[in-house]
Symmetry: C2
Subunit: 238 residues, 2 copies
């Protein structure tokens, strides 16, 4: 049976959103090939988390694609810059310094190449246009434009029946709804990491609790009235 499942590529960062996205894709019946990027990010613990999540959720395979980081300079996530913290309203302001140039464009392009190689029909990405950090490449208009370019770039072409589909099941969900959807689909969120500036102790990763990603994540669990399994650094909830 399993050889008859349609194949999908699922971008998997190791965070809450992409883990939920993978769980939803698996539940839809796809043989999911998880794809994680090592692009010189400061928070490499994400990559280990992604491997554990792929295994936990029954991905058909997990690949770590190493991206030559030198073309991605200019972000607080890849350079030594300070990660901004303690924003009251993450996402409502100018593009933050944690923005990595054209990251989703590059990730989706490589996912498209990988999809063509595996003859996968769908690429899943856990972008979200509600509780997000204000990055331009999370917008629905970008996803639509990318999908058109990807269709034109590949053998599958632009015919509706065969064109590569770019799937964004989280696009219109609040963070609380994403947490609920993930729990309902069986995601163990203690395996995920969202923090842009994590620490570590003898038991594993500690979220800072203060970067935009931590604030959005914590509020999501609170609004969903679900237990937050995140381990925070001392003083994080000050």
């Amino acid at each position: 049976m399993s050889s008859e499942r349609p194949a999908a590529i699922v971008l998997l960062s190791g965070g809450l959103d992409s883990a939920t996205c993978l769980a939803l894709a698996v539940r839809e019946g796809y043989a999911c090939h998880a794809l994680t990027f090592d692009y010189g990010q400061r928070h490499k613990v994400e990559i280990e988390c992604a491997a554990r999540i792929a295994d936990h959720l029954g991905a058909a395979s997990h690949r770590v694609h190493v991206l030559d980081a030198s073309s991605f300079a200019g972000s607080a996530l890849t350079d030594g810059g300070e990660v901004p913290k303690d924003h009251d309203d993450p996402g409502n302001g100018p593009i933050p310094s944690t923005y990595v140039p054209a990251r989703n464009l590059v990730f989706l392009s490589i996912a498209t190449a990988f999809a063509e190689t595996l003859d996968a029909s769908d690429v899943f990405i856990g972008v979200n246009a509600v509780d997000y950090s204000g990055y331009p490449d999370c917008r629905p208009e970008f996803i639509e434009a990318f999908a058109r370019a990807a269709s034109l770039a590949t053998r599958r072409g632009t015919q509706e029946a065969t064109a590569l589909k770019v799937r964004t099941p989280l696009l219109r969900l609040s963070k609380a709804e994403i947490v609920q959807a993930g729990v309902a689909a069986g995601v163990d969120f203690s395996l995920t990491t969202s923090c842009y500036d994590p620490g570590v102790d003898e038991h594993g990763t500690l979220a800072c609790g203060r970067c935009d990603a931590c604030i959005l994540r914590r509020r999501g669990f609170e609004a969903a009235s679900l237990n937050d399994p995140t381990r925070y650094a001392p003083g994080a909830r000050a």
Copy 2:
């Protein structure tokens, strides 16, 4: 003065088209940052040619971006497969086996990230929709769709004054016209290599003369009535 020139990224493969494209971009007054991909292609000699061409044409910089080749399986250019030869009519048929999945999509995406990092206003790519090899990602519709996605993915946004421009000066030219434009712009075509399956002797590279790229190139010089400086393998013109 040179610090005031606008910056552009120019995709440079080491072949005839991209060398001409770089020469045209330099002549337009851009500080050109040439970008070459090492994606596991069989014809690595292209990468050395690209470095010599960048130097010859006065590029502001030349970067070789190493792409994790494992996501680009499935092409005769990266696998061990046979390069097709002796086509009478290259480009008029199904997508050939030398097609690398979504290659221009990936290359342009990384060029876009690089452009954002350098605050470059333009990305030049030497695609051609006339004498080309039938790859889907050389079509004008693809380039237009990509430009829209790239604008939406980046800080520059979609405002006409600031949006990243994807420039394709060779798009509507025949191979003969490309050869003429390159010669007029000072390109030494003996530095370029187009062959998909080159050999080597004690003086350097030898083109096979029989793959689609060689056939298109040779006909271009013939139609332009210009001297072809390509060194062909013995028997190539049989």
